[in-house]
């Protein structure tokens, strides 16, 4: 295996991660820079809320929704690949595929009349949307486990539960994590748009900047949320690498 390649990615992760943390904590220190770049603006750094609070709110949105979608999604994927639920597998797969063609922003908008404005509809929309890649990849991941391997496990006298925990899930883990990665990255993006339905997130300064014609706010929000997405993606990539067996 290419053992030396990942070091470059790890270094990138470290640099971007440190940059993200420093920017979240000390954005104010860049005020002179923004003032020099945009002299026409009255306030150069978004100050209605600290960037730390905005980032934590953003992470809370993503974490809460991702926890729900991962637990429900993996459970659903497991159910439809067991004997009792196999009949539901084609429909659940079709649903996951069709559902992902729905634009996330439109799903967010559709939830508003049902759940109102604020934190709740954003969580609902993120959870619903985040479910789909997790379900899809759980089914796909469990499907990649070779029948020979399952037969061998059964032959050694393992129970169905043991096979699930010791054979199927470990072998499927990489594909499942890839699904969680897609789900989390999409949710980081959609949580940004959540600020248009009243959920506070890193999208809040972006929207405030676009509405109030303050380009500095826009840049501050966009850079932070972009970094957050990339750092999360690199973290997941690292996690996926751990579960690569024998390839």
């Amino acid at each position: 295996m290419k053992r030396n390649l990942p070091h470059g990615r790890d270094a990138l992760l470290l640099v971007l991660g440190v940059a993200l943390i420093l920017l979240v904590l000390f954005m104010d220190a860049l005020a002179p820079l923004f003032r020099a770049a945009f002299p026409q603006l009255d306030t150069a750094v978004y100050a209605r809320e600290s960037f730390l609070k905005l980032t934590l709110d953003h992470l809370a949105l993503v974490l809460v929704s991702s926890l729900i979608s991962v637990s429900v999604g993996v459970a659903a994927g497991l159910f439809v690949t067991r004997r009792a639920g196999r009949e539901f597998e084609p429909l659940v797969s079709a649903l996951a595929a069709i559902g992902q063609t729905f634009p996330p922003a439109a799903v967010l908008a559709i939830v508003v009349p049902l759940a109102g404005f604020g934190f709740v509809p954003t969580i609902v929309a993120l959870t619903l949307y985040g479910l789909l890649p997790v379900v899809q990849n759980t089914i796909a991941g469990l499907g990649t486990v070779p029948t020979d391997t399952l037969e061998a496990a059964r032959g050694t006298g393992m129970s169905a539960t043991q096979i699930l925990w010791r054979v199927e899930l470990p072998l499927a883990m990489r594909v499942i994590i890839a699904g969680v990665r897609v789900s989390v990255i999409i949710n980081i993006g959609t949580a940004t748009i959540g600020s248009t339905v009243g959920a506070q997130s890193l999208g809040t300064p972006i929207i405030a900047g676009l509405v109030g014609d303050n380009i500095a706010y826009v840049i501050q929000g966009a850079v932070l949320v972009g970094l957050l997405a990339i750092v999360s993606d690199l973290l997941f990539e690292r996690l996926e690498r751990r579960y690569r067996f024998g390839s």
């Binding site: 004997r83 634009p103 439109a106 908008a109 990255i185 940004t192 748009i193 248009t196 929000g221």
Partner: protein, 398 residues
């Protein structure tokens, strides 16, 4: 499928999926509000239950159809296949009755209400529509219906829905009221949405296809290329749109002729550039995968027949890679339709403009007028491109 699962005829319920959907539809329809009636556009309305909203004959027909569907999921007397065919008739009829019932209720309710009053659809309506659609999908999967037959069926059902629209059934609904208020603007933004998607996909294909071929021919270029493109794909759309605003407005200031071309910070230019950046990864990845999937033996046979490299490319590699490349196009088209919604935030227009305008005014029906057509557009584009992918497959592989 192992023999264990083939005991369908010994069970009471042959189709547990249909049974689950039916229970969900009935429970949802009875427990959730079917419609909401509001005195004006901006306040949320009073809930109306399905039973209260539908006229007696509609309730009876729906009850009858629910019974038919209930029988269709049993092991006897119809069994799995005839049951699925029955569901394919009963489910769309139930869908049309629910749609007609909602429109009819709105017309009756508004007949003796103030002109500002509004009727909009509730959660039970969506649950019923959703479950009916899934029943049809399930039936098709059980019957293993070929795609062309599904398409004709979908056209007939869509025809029924369009006929309801044409007959003015929904004219009294709030979402249609909203539409009549801004009919011209809606058409214009709809066209803008399509134009933005088209302007992004065209250049993305022109750049992406050769890059995909390059990734296939030069393995060394693959890592950096996919790395950079994945980097763009990861950045949230609103952030990328917003980050492009500044450099483009600077560029527009510096070069006035660009500004005359419409390149400026706010508007279509940053949106199109961002959409192109998002579209590149799936196109390049699928083009590469398509070429990589062509069997080496096929290539050798082709050059053995005396074909030149160019002939092999055009007559062998491209036709064989086409289905995978078109799958990439399918992904990007659907993705671009969705991302264009967000582009409305930087003033590019499109259907997203209604969504964000509606959110700003707390006018939910305007939000839906933007969101529902966008979803419909994405689903239809996905379905059409799926047909194209199937058609592009070589006859033996279909």
């Amino acid at each position: 499928m192992p023999a264990v699962f083939r005991h369908a005829d010994r069970r009471l319920v042959a189709n547990r999926v249909l049974a689950t959907l039916l229970v969900a539809a009935v429970a949802g329809s009875l427990l959730l509000p079917f419609a909401a009636m509001a005195p004006n556009r901006l306040v949320s309305g009073e809930s109306v239950a399905l039973v209260a909203a539908l006229s007696p004959w509609q309730t009876l027909v729906l009850l009858g159809l629910a019974l038919v569907l209930g029988v269709a999921c049993l092991a006897r007397p119809l069994g799995e296949h005839r049951g699925a065919r029955t569901a394919l008739i009963a489910a769309p009829l139930a869908l049309l009755v629910v749609l007609y019932g909602l429109g009819d209720y709105a017309t009756r309710a508004l007949a003796d209400a103030s002109p500002a009053a509004r009727v909009s659809q509730g959660a039970a309506f969506w649950v019923a529509v959703f479950c009916c659609a899934l029943m049809m999908v399930d039936a098709f999967q059980r019957l293993r219906t070929p795609l062309w037959l599904c398409s004709i069926y979908a056209l007939v059902v869509l025809g029924g829905i369009v006929a309801l629209f044409a007959a003015g059934t929904f004219d009294a609904l709030a979402i249609m009221q909203e539409y009549f208020n801004i009919e011209d603007a809606f058409a214009a933004q709809f066209v803008t949405h399509l134009v933005l998607v088209g302007l992004a996909l065209g250049p993305a294909l022109v750049v992406g296809l050769p890059l995909g071929l390059l990734a296939h021919r030069r393995p060394g270029a693959r890592g950096p290329l996919f790395g950079v493109l994945n980097f763009f794909q990861t950045i949230p759309s609103i952030a990328l749109f917003a980050l492009l605003v500044t450099p483009l407005s600077r560029l527009g200031d510096a070069l006035p002729w660009l500004r005359e071309w419409g390149v400026s910070g706010i508007g279509a230019a940053p949106a199109i550039i961002a959409l192109i950046m998002y579209s590149l990864l799936p196109i390049v990845r699928n083009t590469h995968a398509g070429f990589a999937g062509v069997a080496p033996a096929t290539l050798e046979a082709a050059s053995g027949m005396g074909m030149t490299a160019t002939q092999v490319l055009w007559r062998v590699e491209i036709p064989l890679a086409l289905p995978v490349i078109l799958s990439g196009l399918r992904i990007v088209t659907v993705q671009a339709i969705g991302l264009t919604v967000v582009a409305a935030l930087i003033g590019a227009g499109g259907l997203g403009a209604f969504i964000f305008q509606g959110l700003g005014q707390y006018a939910i029906d305007l939000v839906l007028l933007g969101a529902v057509p966008t979803i419909a557009l994405a689903v239809v584009a996905d379905f059409l491109l799926q047909i194209l992918v199937t058609v592009s497959r070589p006859a033996g592989a279909r």
